[in-house]
């Protein structure tokens, strides 16, 4: 076996996976892994939890070390080495040893680029003040950790309401600080459709987080020893510590300067074998462009789970294998205080952009049998294609059981299942784990009912739009009197409890468009059926009931 020389640039998730896999495919290869930082393969995703103390020891973040990699995998690990240039013609990389400043070069037969991503730092005045930091690397985390130990910040401003922003907000609230989140968009967690994000906004409020939406940061300043963030609405938010969490950007400069293509998403272009246009160069992890399996479009998937898979494939393929990574469903989950919040597939907005006429449904249902203690409501928004019935995307929020339903839905979407086919799934049922009708089965039934012609949904946004337009329609609340007292009714609604509907049907006009609602949609669906079978021409049901309306409208108005 000829001794192949493999160089890997980057040693966190994708790079370390690639190195280990390459070794398992070729015992004789010379493998060198360059990493700019001091550590390899540390738990990037765990950093916010280390700040909050949930992860008690810094060592727990260090999954492995260079010495271990040498011993176990016979990998030559060079931390503190910055690769500055790839010379494809000469098949060489040029590096600087950051400790000594010495530069050098190393030839390769095969190269894997795993340069990761960096925190985006917007060019805001004051962003270089000492109490401002990104939260992307272990170095960032150490700096923030030391700072909070030293100066116990009372007011923390998190700029950006994405994944890291949410985790950071929770972390500092747990630490006892007053936390504000400033977000340029009108919502946090932009992987959610707006009305689902409202559920998160509400929960942040419950947890004492001050949320400033649709506000940009215009400067970060310090006056009389006090820091603050100034927004483009002229708000001054006190800030002893500012976490910049506005997003990340793939590190592609090295690849681009070597003439490798960067795709429309901003990541390095690779095929399903993680191979660039240069057959000797592979790329993996946060720096590459992936494919969304629902749309077939290029996307960035900066997740540790993706990096591990891609790195493994790149490592194998650099050694001559042909392992494909077909793409990603686009699954995301984040813990926001007591809530798990996630999505898989595409959003309603994205579905519309794809030219699909989406069927949108909301299901609110117990994560396990209601009679067994601790059952929590899972809120599921499902987007499917009205024409093909294909499941396109799912958003789920709840206190328990969210990750399970997301993973099932991700598996269903990967396999091209239709919404009604979800009904066929034989999901594990026992009272501590699920309900006889799992939320997923409910989604399937709701979809099947639609495609059987048994109901026509209207979303809170659509209902609100109709109201604003001044359309003529009857709005029917089918709940009981007690519930109405607790939550009120939707303005303009007539109240006929579902159990009285059969007797009082003549109070309604069969020719007039009629929209029914209840708490989450089960009673109004029955009402919809009764009216339709009794000759009502145009009946709709508010999907997700007043529970969805409350959030939908809180967002709209």
């Amino acid at each position: 076996m000829r001794r192949v020389k493999l160089i890997i640039i980057g040693g966190v998730a994708a790079g370390a996976s690639a190195a280990a896999k390459a070794r398992r495919c070729n015992e004789d290869a010379e493998i060198i892994m360059f990493e700019k930082g001091q550590d390899i393969s540390y738990a990037t995703c765990g950093l916010p939890y280390y700040l909050s103390g949930v992860i008690a020891k810094r060592d727990d973040l260090l999954i492995t070390t260079g010495e271990f990699f040498k011993r176990r995998f016979n990998i030559d690990v060079r931390t503190g080495h910055d690769v500055q240039r790839i010379d494809r013609r000469a098949r060489k990389i040029h590096f600087t040893d950051l400790a000594t400043g010495a530069s050098g070069e190393e030839g390769y037969d095969k190269l894997i680029v795993a340069t990761g991503a960096s925190a985006l730092v917007p060019p805001v005045p004051g962003v270089d003040l000492p109490f401002v930091s990104a939260l992307k690397t272990l170095e960032d985390t150490d700096r923030i950790f030391d700072y909070t130990k030293r100066s116990e910040p009372k007011h923390v401003v998190v700029v950006g309401g994405g994944l890291v922003g949410m985790e950071a907000a929770e972390s500092f609230v747990m630490g006892g600080a007053r936390v504000s989140v400033v977000e340029l968009m009108s919502q946090v967690l932009t992987f959610l459709d707006p009305e689902m994000a409202v559920v998160v906004h509400h929960h942040l409020g419950e947890k004492g987080v001050d949320l400033y939406l649709s506000e940009g940061v215009s400067s970060i300043e310090q006056r009389n020893g006090k820091g603050f963030v100034k927004t483009d609405r002229d708000r001054e938010v006190p800030a002893d510590l500012v976490i910049m969490a506005v997003g990340i950007r793939p590190n592609v400069v090295l690849a681009r300067e070597a003439g490798l293509a960067v795709g429309p998403s901003g990541g390095i272009a690779v095929d399903e074998f993680m191979q660039t246009k240069d057959p000797d160069i592979f790329a993996a992890g946060d720096c590459v462009e992936s494919v969304n399996v629902v749309t077939g479009k290029p996307v960035l998937v900066p997740m540790g789970s993706a990096a591990n898979k891609q790195g493994r494939a790149a490592g194998a393929n650099a050694m001559g294998r042909r392992i494909a990574i077909k793409g990603f469903t686009g699954t995301v989950i984040v813990k926001v205080f007591d809530l798990a919040v996630g999505k898989t597939g595409i959003t309603e907005r994205e579905a519309v952009e794809e030219g699909v006429s989406p069927l949108v449904t909301y299901v609110l249902s117990g994560d396990h049998a209601g009679y067994y203690p601790g059952s929590e409501t899972v809120r599921i928004k499902t987007i499917s294609d009205r024409a093909s019935r294909r499941l396109l995307g799912v958003q789920i929020i709840g206190k328990s059981g969210v990750d399970k339903r997301l993973d099932v839905m991700a598996t269903a979407i990967y396999n091209g299942m239709s919404i009604d086919e979800l009904l066929q799934l034989d999901l594990a049922y026992a009272p501590p784990y699920s309900a006889a009708r799992d939320p997923i089965i409910y989604v399937g039934a709701v979809g099947q009912d639609y495609h059987e012609g048994d109901w026509e949904p209207i979303t809170p946004a659509e209902l609100h739009a109709k109201m604003k337009k001044g359309d003529d329609f009857a709005l029917l609340d089918t709940r009981t009197g007690k519930e109405l007292k607790e939550t009120g009714i939707i303005p303009g609604a007539v109240h006929i409890p579902i159990d009285e509907l059969r007797d009082r049907i003549d109070e309604l006009d069969r020719e007039r468009e009629t929209i029914l609602y209840c708490a989450v949609g089960m009673r109004s669906y029955l009402g919809n059926r009764i009216l339709a079978m009794k000759g009502f021409k145009n009946v709709k049901t508010l999907t997700g009931g007043i529970e969805s309306w409350t959030h939908g409208v809180r967002h709209q108005v």
Copy 2:
């Protein structure tokens, strides 16, 4: 619309689902639901949890009432009515009102048989003693509840180690009793392969349950006011209370006497529309025969989740719809004290019976990131087809995250995924919920590695058989010295820590069959790769490592 008359026999899970769905499909139908018991639609699956006090109130078990069904769905519910005969020619059923003893008849246009299943009570002497009871119905539960309140049983014997047996055992241990389980087979939970059941046996022991396997009950007796169970090994087990949980049998007498076919599984034969050979008669729930989607063979699926789906389809189809239930993957889950124990698809034994050459792998992996608190090991046995790669069955045991992986695997099996394709799933990852490499992804990688020719697994059972046969092979323990001190080695093994294997490779014979193991299989897999690439002709890895061996052999010997 002609007024159709639908009669439903049985009002628990399938019957109640059928009635509600039939109403939603036909507002004008006359619908009568006969139920022998006093309650409809109660939570059969919750009964053991009511006995343990986990479910505090009896009312919580009553999901709905006859009055509610009348009011909400306009269903004529007749509890305490026993249907005794179906006269298909006259399209009539004959019933007895159990309260008055009066008999009557009722004509039908459409009929749904949802007669459920009954507890099997073996013809053992003493089975009718007052301290002996099944645990199937609410009446059984009330009787046991009253008995335990009155006489506080110190010794409880559970006969049968199936789902109900396990739940009952936990329930009475929680109540403070000394619990024995007597099981005729050599293992509990026969949906598991034997070596996986051993994990459950071990846990039952930890919880103080006395387990008597491969023992039948020969009699139940009472002497000097003391009860006991006598086994066919002449053991006398003290018993103040005996729960008979040896299984259930579908109630098919009514259907069979009406000339409806009963299938090979013992359930009423129906097509995918829940229709019997009589186009006016449908059947659903525990009394029907279903199809296993992996084998295509007839099976019983006596689960509340199945009953709800089948009842819904039967109700719709009796009203002229065509809703199909394609079959079941065979998913089961049960809580056994701190463990969740489940399977989906078929077992290794069943795969062999199907004529498949199964690839069997064990993966032990954290349910979420190890650095985030509370991570627990999930133990996954996977059975796939070596030829087609198709995933056939999965068994999972662990303290956390078991239900999630089962549901994903059930979805994967339903969709005919191959074991290596699991790698492509984009599962939700954040440290509180999962690991960057989810256990499912590990299973996919292990499968892909096999199909790439990177390793050849040997199961604990196969290794043990080789040892007994006296085969010549080298057994290599690749763990560290510290671990060896804790657990010991497999007899006959040579110890070379993985990190020394490269230097000490010449201590081994390249021509001799070599079997490697470590704790769970990761280091031995690396060792397998090193040896194979260094010219060893015949190398195997013990799948699941010593963790699986311990259980595998504890079972074998």
